[in-house]
């Protein structure tokens, strides 16, 4: 029972809210142009094909309109000209914690990164603004052929694997923000797990924005070869600046035949971050991809992790928890594209809206014709805490053909006054009662999280609930 240890672990909602003075060796300046792209490509000493890829992507980004015909108008408040697109001190992450520069080290130590690595992780990468400052993996995994490096290192040192899959799951023009990322990406992880290798402990990446007006654009590519297994976890924080910050990542996963990938996100950006992320996986025959996605922070998150079920009997799953407090809009969901027979997908989404918070579920389930035996099950449950809270659900389901089965259910509920009274009668304060109810609401989903994350999550929910009553 994961809740047993809640009170023994000290997690602070505000623990990410600090920053150290900036001293950047590499700075692409403010604003975005082809010159910015050239600067990044030069600093990173990238091959020509990547430079060309970036320039094309920038053109796509500039030509695409903002998707405000369906998405939040808040997107219009992003001023692309005021953003800094590349900031770094060094081009190579260290393998040793001791070599990490002091202020950066202090940052990640405050966030508990090295501690967690010792405790339960198989490998860690820590990104500070545009570049990874630390990257390390247990030696045994390297001996088995597992690759876990930054994306820059991946594209230079493992081009034969990298190039084959890079940009193939999420094409540049998928959406305006995937194009932006493709133009200016830096950092993120590249992981390759050879056939049959089962990585027992999670690999973790930690993303930190430290500079004001900065845009973080990491790019992650994970390839799990036939019959292999891997779990990847990411966490993120940023200080609370006066101005808005942009985080726009692209994450591509490839699960080859029979492989299993679990991708866990606990997103806890500060409440001025636009978090606009494209995440998609391809699952080949009998492969299994599970996105576990938890969004607590940010000003506006738009993120709909997807799985393209490309091989027979592939399975895709999205488990999503979103918590929207005052000033926050969690616009999250899932995309399940069935492209082979007997593929199954499962989406469970739970959202909680507090105060003036707004949570939105957007989903797409697509089963084209001539397929048989495909199944999708989607459940969306929304919990409203205050009378000012808002929730929306916008699924789109297309099923062609008669031999598939799709089921979608959504509900909206509140914590009832009777529940709260019952718990108060047993001696719990109103806030405690509310927390308990909310934790109860997400409980079955939280159980799916790795232990350490579920503890943190419950604690974060408690902290978010404290000010919501009354």
């Amino acid at each position: 029972m994961s809740t047993e240890v809640i009170s023994q672990i000290d997690v602070d909602r505000t623990r990410g809210d600090f920053s150290y003075p900036e001293q950047h060796t590499f700075d692409a300046g403010t604003g975005l142009s082809h010159a910015t792209v050239d600067y990044i490509a030069e600093v990173k000493q990238e091959p020509d094909w990547i430079r060309e890829f970036r320039h094309k992507a920038l053109d796509v980004f500039l030509s695409k309109p903002m998707p405000t015909h369906w998405a939040s108008k808040d997107l219009e408040n992003i001023v692309f000209d005021n953003i800094r697109y590349y900031l770094a001190n060094s081009q190579r992450p260290t393998r040793s914690w001791d070599e990490v520069p002091d202020d950066v080290k202090r940052t990640f130590e405050r966030l508990g990164i090295p501690e967690q690595e010792r405790k339960f992780l198989a490998g860690v990468e820590a990104q500070f603004d545009s570049e990874a400052v630390y990257s390390n993996m247990k030696k045994a995994l390297g001996d088995e052929g597992v690759i876990f490096v930054g994306s820059t290192e991946g594209l230079k040192e493992h081009p034969e694997i990298f190039r084959k899959w890079f940009g193939k799951v999420i094409p540049t023009g998928d959406n305006k923000f995937s194009a932006l990322n493709s133009a200016v990406f830096s950092g993120g992880s590249f992981i390759y797990v050879p056939p049959g290798v089962k990585v027992k402990h999670p690999l973790q990446a930690y993303f930190r924005i430290n500079a004001e007006n900065f845009g973080q654009f990491e790019r992650t590519l994970i390839i799990a070869d036939e019959g292999s297994e891997v779990m990847y976890m990411e966490g993120c924080t940023a200080p609370k600046f006066e101005t808005a910050t942009l985080h726009s990542a692209v994450v591509e996963l490839v699960a080859m035949k029979g492989a299993k990938i679990q991708y866990v996100t606990v997103q806890n950006w500060s409440a001025n971050v636009f978090n606009l992320v494209t995440k998609r996986a391809i699952a080949h025959e009998e492969a299994e991809v599970k996105w576990i996605d938890c969004n607590i922070g940010s000003r506006l998150t738009m993120k709909y992790p997807g799985v393209v079920l490309k091989g027979r009997k592939a399975r895709g799953e999205v488990l999503s928890i979103a918590l929207a407090n005052n000033g926050q809009h969690q616009d999250t969901g899932a995309k399940m594209i069935h492209a082979a027979d007997e593929t199954t997908s499962n989406v469970i989404s739970k959202s909680i809206s507090i105060g003036h918070g707004r949570s939105t579920y957007r989903g797409q389930v697509y089963i084209p014709r001539h397929l048989k035996g495909c199944k999708n099950n989607t459940e969306c449950d929304a919990l409203l805490i205050n009378s000012t809270s808002r929730t929306d659900t916008y699924p789109a389901i297309t099923v062609r053909g008669s031999r598939n089965s799709v089921q979608h259910e959504a509900s909206v509920s509140q914590v009832s006054a009777e529940q709260i009274f019952y718990m108060q009668q047993r001696g719990l304060s109103e806030a405690q009662a509310m927390s308990l109810s909310v934790n109860g609401f997400v409980n079955d989903l939280v159980r799916e999280f790795p232990m350490e994350y579920s503890v943190e999550l419950k604690r974060l929910i408690d902290l978010e609930m404290e000010d919501s009553v009354g």
């Binding site: 047993r426 001696g427 109810s437 609401f441 409980n443």
Partner: protein, 260 residues
Amino acid sequence: MSLVIHNLHARVSGGQEILRGLNLEIQKGSVHAIMGPNGSGKSTLSKVISGHPDYEVTSGEVLLDGVNVLAMEPDARARAGLFLAFQYPVEIPGVSNANFIRAALQARLKDGEELDAVDYYGDLYKEMDKLEIPRTFTSRSVNEGFSGGEKKRNEVLQMAMLKPAYAILDETDSGLDIDALKIVAAGVNALRSPSVGMLVITHYQRLLDYITPDVVHVLVGGRIVRSAGPELAYELESKGYDWIKDALTEDVHSEELAAV
């Protein structure tokens, strides 16, 4: 040391007055029963004492060992030692019984104090065994999908775990068959002690066969109209409530005369 209810007037917020000058004193170590016809205000009394937000006290006092609890939040009253066994226990999806009771106990500790998990489960299992509650109960959500008997047993279990100074049992017999009633009553009897005062609210005398009260009160029209020993329950059972209502009419008449 007692729970004193003094001249209590209360109504559903904005509605008709339901309790109209109710007086009652429950000493620690004693068991009082309140009986009354439907609509007499029995359930209102339990809700008002425990601080249900739907009810409004227009005058009077509820003193718990000398402290007026009416200004306190429901949870503060509970921590002060007041326990209500609900007539209709509420379902709380996703919250396990073990975590719930644990959280309630933890709420009674000082800041920084931690409930010992081993002791807690030891106590919990002991009390569950007494009430013949299977171990699977701990991981089930609070009252969700419980039968009537299971819900009432859960109320008694919580009472045993939270060790109140004063317990109000609101129609604990409703919805129970005779076997379940015996188990629940045995559980309640086991909790009788010099340090607990109990108020058993019931419509029927049946429950009082198993939980013998020291004093029986009759509640009609929002007031206690008769108080006597356990024999009063039998009298009510054989004569029905009309008998007492008729008697009451005379009382009211004389009261009115007195007022003139």
